[in-house]
């Protein structure tokens, strides 16, 4: 049984990359939007320069975030991610993906990662949320690169 709607290609505009086509099923719905951006709900992950992706708004051509998968920060960080998130129907058994927003600086070496507020995605439903973690040791501006 096929669901032709979920295979449908969606077109959206990117001010950086021009017209993009993605499968509807690839769209991530960020509940409430990214913090500070409540209007834009739908995003897609676009491969960029590994391990970096763009988390690109489908609704706003100008809005995109550079992200990496949370795995880049090792098991210690992964163990701090929530195992339950009622708003996303996430329990300990649910498959999730987690993305970390990168703030790129003009001097790229100074770029930082926001480990305090990752984007948690329920990969089955495509629903996501930017979750602020309680852990006091996590920094909003964590230096990203080794010296």
């Amino acid at each position: 049984m096929t669901d032709s709607d979920s295979d449908k290609l969606i077109t959206f505009q990117s001010s950086r990359f021009g017209q993009q086509k993605v499968e509807r099923s690839a769209i991530v719905h960020v509940m409430g939007g990214m913090i500070g951006f409540p209007v834009e709900i739908d995003y897609v992950l676009i491969e960029y320069s590994p391990p970096f992706y763009w988390f690109h708004s489908v609704q706003n051509p100008n809005l995109a975030f550079v992200v990496v998968h949370a795995d880049e920060f090792g098991e210690d960080y992964l163990s701090l991610l929530p195992t339950e998130e009622a708003s996303l129907d996430i329990t300990a058994d649910t498959q999730i993906a987690a993305l970390v927003v990168v703030t790129v600086q003009p001097v790229s070496q100074d770029s930082t990662a926001n480990l305090k507020a990752p984007i948690i995605i329920n990969t089955a439903t495509g629903n996501a949320r930017q979750v602020i973690l309680d852990n006091q040791s996590l920094e909003v501006k964590t230096p990203l690169f080794s010296v």
Binding site: R16, F17, M31, G32, M34, I35, G36, F37, Y48, S49, P51, F52, L63, A64, F65, V66, V68, E72, F73, G74, D76, Y77, E85, A86, S87, V101, V102, T103, V104, P106, S108, Q109, S111, N114, L115, K116, A117, Q130, I132, V140, K141, T142, P143, L144, F145, S146
Partner: protein
Amino acid sequence: MLVLTRKPGQSLFIGEDIKVSVMEIRGNQVRVGILAPPTVRIYREEIYTQILEENKEASEFSHLGASELKGALSTWKIRKPDGS
């Protein structure tokens, strides 16, 4: 802004689903309890503002074109929190 006065042990409702209670007052600190559905986010203002500002900064990098960014980012290796 609606301003109400409550004593420790008193509460107020925000809509039907959110209950805010003053638990205790100690010196210049108020301990506040919040009962809300799990879908409602609750944040200290200062941390919420900090994340909001960081998101705004992260979403703007017009100082580098996308292709320059690619080259710049590939130069460096991500460090793990444990320092490795």
